[in-house]
Every structure is written in structure tokens, then in C-alpha cells.
């Protein structure tokens, strides 16, 4: 069954390649949505797709990429909305130099 999850990952999760690591996994699992760094130092993942694939992604996020130190994950399951076409990293403005 298709569902949506809003996942917040806390710990040493910014500046360790967490977003690209998540995006690769989500893409491989056929999930759509986005990942972005939050000002409070956490990583936000909004994802849609098969519930089983999302659950697997959440489990992988508990460990994260090699340099990450995940302290806590908050997950809010929601109804599937079909909002996204693909999975992307959403950058904050200051991360895109002009």
C-alpha cells in the first residue's frame, strides 16, 4: 500500500553526506519526495511510495552514512498524496552559490 512519511533525523546528520545518501536509497527503492537540511541541525525527509520501502528507508536512516551519528528519528505516517514525481535534494539558498 502506498503511504507518505515525514521523517526527522536528529544527531550529527548535517555535513556528513546524509542527504545524498538518503536520495540514492530513495531513488533505488522507487520512492519520491525530498530531503533537506533544517536550520536546527536535523534532516527532514518527506517521502511517498510503498509502505514497505519507506519502512526499510527509515530503518537504514537509523544508522545513516558512515560519518553520521544518528541520535533519534521521529516518523509521522500520513495518507499517500501523490505529490512528487521523483526524489530530490532541496537545497537552502545559501547552499547554491551565485
Amino acid at each position: 500500500m502506498k503511504r507518505r512519511a515525514v521523517i526527522r533525523v536528529y544527531g550529527e546528520v548535517q555535513g556528513v553526506g546524509f542527504r545524498s545518501w538518503t536520495a540514492r536509497r530513495a531513488q533505488r527503492a522507487g520512492l519520491s519526495g525530498y530531503v533537506r537540511n533544517e536550520p536546527d541541525g536535523s534532516v527532514l525527509i518527506v517521502v511517498e511510495g510503498e509502505e514497505e520501502s519507506i519502512a526499510r528507508l527509515i530503518e537504514e536512516c537509523r544508522k545513516g552514512p558512515p560519518l553520521a551519528r544518528v541520535e533519534r528519528i521521529d516518523v509521522e505516517w500520513q495518507e499517500y498524496r501523490g505529490e512528487f514525481q521523483d526524489f530530490e535534494i532541496r537545497y537552502r539558498d545559501y547552499e547554491l552559490p551565485r
Binding site: 555535513g15 556528513v16 553526506g17 542527504r19 545524498s20 545518501w21 536520495a23 540514492r24 531513488q27 536550520p39 552514512p65 558512515p66 560519518l67 530530490e88 535534494i89 537545497y91 537552502r92 539558498d93 545559501y94 547552499e95 547554491l96 552559490p97 551565485r98
Partner: protein, 479 residues
């Protein structure tokens, strides 16, 4: 050295850097991460500009370097470091009596997140400076982000012009990096060379290189590391015949290296935007995309799964990747002075008019925005530019970086490639001269029409840029 050993060594080095407060992943933008210009810095400056102008301060419009009439011998520089407005010594500033300043501001990432918080931090300091030095011009500002809330500071390099020299210009700039290659020691000569090259490149892009003067910016957690970086800077300055001038340092303990730099020129800078006309060509002095390759290398060293993917998708193994990365860092650490000389030769004297058959009309260096700098040139020159090819150091690594979400713009560069617009005849000359000097100049496109700022780019650029914020600025076409 086997991959396992490399992997372990690299992971340890990255941990060491993180303990120094440096985030190797900020390399995605080349220099130390900048405060976003459009959404944070400019609105913050706009909100305080009115009050500062009432006090007589003028903040110059955004540009890559400060330019003023005079000579290197004709001015004195005084550096003051402020952590808060209480540090601004009004009596001292009245004594210095500066006419302009180049400012480096390092602010915490939460402050850099929105214009209101940034304005709150800088307003007090700027106001005190404006009160003490009425009429001062802030010629160039460089604003960077730190993850360490205790590492905030502003460095004002005050310029007192003693002797105005009307037949020459001084070009000044400030730039900094934290590190460029996390596989190397922070005190290695290559890191320092890249840091200084990064500062100097904005002068070189304008054809300014004579009587180069370097005023270091060095911050580090240990006296020993600071001394090594200082020694490296001294040697680098000697190698390019530049003068090194000591100045006070921020001493926050967070790693940072770079410099305020000045050079002199008796030519007009290549700001002949109105002279750009259809038929002129675009040349880039060497292939771009340095940061994509460096970031792919970093990710492969951190995550063997990515290294395996790279080998599987593009047949590039870790050994080959190391070679590419090494040659890129070598190139980035070599002074780009030949490009400066080639540009200088093709600029009009101060009292001469621009001649399209002899002179370069416009230049810019390829930095974090990568190929997007062409859009900026199109806007400055109000022209439509057609790009025929995207000259990448490694199209494979840039594509891999995009496909695997490693970097949002895999055409990003730093320290070197300069883009210029000139007539085909001038481009011929520069291309030949740079080739003779071992560079790899490439003609990448041409000016099509004047009026509307547009850039037509082959749609293959999608393989190299994932950030929609950049892609939407281009007119993509099928080649």
C-alpha cells in the same frame, strides 16, 4: 596503498578536520560557505544602508573586487578585528582616517539563515565604523558562514590613501577557504596555495597582477599550524614575486585561510559590457568542474558503496580517481598569472578607448556557480549567448556526481578557469598564447544578439546540474 587503507586514513582525516570545526562537505562551494547573496546578504545590507548613508558611509554595489585610483605604494592598510560593536575603537579609527575598507565577515550559520538576524549582527559594527569614519566606502565585502557560534568576527581592512596616482588603479579583494583537500594535512603547502590562488584570481580575472601585495587571513586551533600556514604563504608570495604584509588575525581557533590581496594596473578593467556585440566569442581558459571531481573523490573515500558504483557505472577505479583529483589540486594550486598577463595585454590603457579588434570586453572567473557564470555575463552585457559545449575536466565524474546527488551543480569550479568575451581575432590571440603556456583554452560559444539576457545551453547540461534553481535560468536546446 590499498583502498581499505586509503578509506581508513581518509575517514580519520575527516574526523580530524571535524574536530577542528571544519566541514569537508562545505567544499561543495569551494571557498568557505558564503552567506547567500540574494536572499540574505543583500536584503540585510539594504535594511541598514539608509541609516549608514546618513552617517556618510557608502557600500559599493556587489562586485568581485574593489577598484580605486592610486598605487600600491600610495596607500596604507590597517586591519582591525571586531567581534561586537564594543570592539570598534572610535579614537583609533579617527586616527587611521580611512577612505575605504575591504570587509570579511564570518557569521554563525543561524545568523546567516535570514537577513534580519544578519542585519542585527552587522548593524552595530557598521554604525560605529560609519560614525568614526564619515565618508568611508566599503569597497568589497566577503561574508562567510561558520558552524561555530564562537567563531564570529568581522575583519575590516582599512585603506588610507596617501597619494592618489591618477594613471593607475589598485584592485583589491578578500577571499578565504577552510580546506580544499581533506586527504591532506591542513598545513600542507597545497592547501595554502589554493587559498591564496582563490583570493588572487579575482584580481587576475581583471588583468591586475603587478606589485601584488598579500595580507594573510589565518585562523587555526594551534600556534604550530598557524606558523606552518604563515610559512607556506611566505613561500607562495616569494614564488610569484608578491609582497607579504603582516596584519592582526581573528584568533577564534576555527580553521580559515586566505588573504586580502591587492595588485596594480595601468589598464582599464574589462567592464566594457556595452561594447559586447553579436559575433563576439566566449572563451574559457581551461576546463571546469573541479569541485565535482573533488566531491566525488571525497564521497568515494567515505562510502565504499559509491566507489563501487563509480567503477561499475564509468569504469573509474579509486586509483584513477586519485590521479584525477591530484592533478586538479595541482592545477588549482598553481598561480594563474599567465591568464592575468594575457588579459592585461588586451586591455586599453587608462587614457585609451576600447577597441573591439584589440581588447577583451568582459571577463569573469568560474567559481561555485560553474557554467551559470555565463548567465551573469549575459545579464551584465544584456546579450543572448549561445553555448555550444560545456567544457568539463571529467564529464564522467560530473555526470556521476549529479546522478548520485553528490553536488547540486557539477560544473562548479574554483581557482582558475576564466571566461572572457572578445572578438574572434582577440580570442584567437589569447587562445594561442595560453596554449603556448600549457593552458587548455576552449571556445565554448558566442554572443548571438543584444538586448535580452539569455543563455542557450545544450540540454546535456541536465546531466551535470541537478539544482532546478540553476537550470531554470537557461534556455535548453537539443544539440
Amino acid at each position: 596503498m590499498g583502498y581499505e587503507e586509503l578509506f581508513r586514513e581518509f575517514s580519520k582525516r575527516v574526523e580530524d578536520y571535524r574536530s577542528l570545526g571544519v566541514n569537508p562537505f562545505s567544499l561543495a562551494t569551494g571557498c568557505a560557505v558564503k552567506v547567500d547573496l540574494l536572499t540574505v546578504l543583500y536584503p540585510a545590507i539594504r535594511s541598514i544602508r539608509g541609516d549608514l548613508e546618513k552617517l556618510g558611509m557608502r557600500i559599493a554595489p556587489r562586485r568581485d573586487a574593489d577598484i580605486f585610483q592610486g598605487s600600491i605604494e600610495g596607500f596604507r592598510l590597517f586591519r582591525e578585528i571586531y567581534r561586537s560593536e564594543d570592539d570598534v575603537n572610535i579614537e583609533r579609527l579617527k586616527e587611521i582616517s580611512p577612505s575605504r575598507a575591504i570587509v570579511l565577515a564570518q557569521v554563525h550559520q543561524r545568523v546567516a539563515d535570514n537577513p534580519e538576524s544578519l542585519a542585527r549582527v552587522i548593524r552595530g559594527i557598521y554604525t560605529r565604523v560609519a560614525q568614526a569614519a564619515p565618508g568611508i566606502i566599503i569597497g568589497k565585502g566577503h561574508s562567510i558562514v561558520t558552524a561555530d557560534s564562537k567563531a564570529q568576527f568581522m575583519a575590516f581592512d582599512y585603506i588610507r590613501i596617501n597619494n592618489e596616482n591618477y594613471d593607475r588603479l589598485v584592485v583589491g579583494n578578500n577571499d578565504t577557504i577552510q580546506i580544499i583537500d581533506p586527504a591532506e594535512d591542513p598545513g600542507s603547502p597545497r592547501q595554502t596555495a589554493v587559498a591564496l590562488g582563490n583570493s588572487l584570481n579575482d584580481l587576475y580575472t581583471l588583468g591586475a597582477w603587478r606589485n601584488t601585495t598579500i595580507i594573510p587571513v589565518i585562523d587555526s586551533p594551534s600556534r604550530e599550524l598557524t606558523r606552518r600556514i604563515e610559512d607556506n604563504m611566505r613561500r607562495y608570495a616569494e614564488s610569484i614575486g608578491a609582497k607579504l604584509v603582516e596584519a592582526p588575525q581573528p584568533r577564534t581557533g576555527a580553521l580559515l585561510m586566505g588573504a586580502t590581496v591587492f595588485a596594480e594596473t595601468d589598464r582599464k578593467p574589462p567592464f566594457f559590457y556595452d561594447e559586447v556585440s553579436p559575433g563576439m566569442e566566449i572563451l574559457v581558459t581551461r576546463p571546469i568542474g573541479e569541485l565535482a571531481s573533488i566531491n566525488v573523490y571525497m564521497m568515494c573515500m567515505l562510502d565504499r558503496e559509491i566507489a563501487e558504483e563509480l567503477r561499475r557505472q564509468f569504469g573509474i577505479d579509486v586509483e584513477k580517481l586519485l590521479d584525477i583529483k591530484s592533478s586538479i589540486i595541482d592545477r588549482m594550486s598553481r598561480p594563474n598569472i599567465d591568464v592575468a598577463r594575457a588579459i592585461e595585454k588586451r586591455l586599453p590603457q587608462i587614457d585609451e578607448d576600447f577597441d573591439p579588434s584589440r581588447h577583451v570586453a568582459a571577463t569573469t572567473d568560474v567559481t561555485g556557480p560553474g557554467i551559470y557564470v555565463i548567465k551573469e555575463l549575459a545579464e551584465l552585457t544584456r546579450s543572448s549567448i549561445r553555448i555550444d559545449r560545456i567544457p568539463l575536466i571529467s564529464p564522467e565524474l560530473s555526470e556521476f556526481a549529479t546522478r548520485n546527488y553528490i553536488i547540486p551543480n557539477a560544473t562548479s569550479g574554483t581557482n582558475g578557469a576564466v571566461v572572457m568575451i572578445a572578438s574572434p581575432r582577440v580570442i584567437d590571440e589569447i587562445e594561442g598564447e595560453l596554449r603556448d603556456r600549457g593552458e587548455e583554452p576552449i571556445r565554448i560559444g558566442r554572443v548571438v544578439t543584444k538586448g535580452e539576457a539569455r543563455v542557450m545551453v545544450p540540454s546535456i547540461v541536465r546531466k551535470y546540474i541537478s539544482a532546478k534553481a540553476y537550470l531554470k535560468e537557461f534556455d535548453l536546446y537539443e544539440a
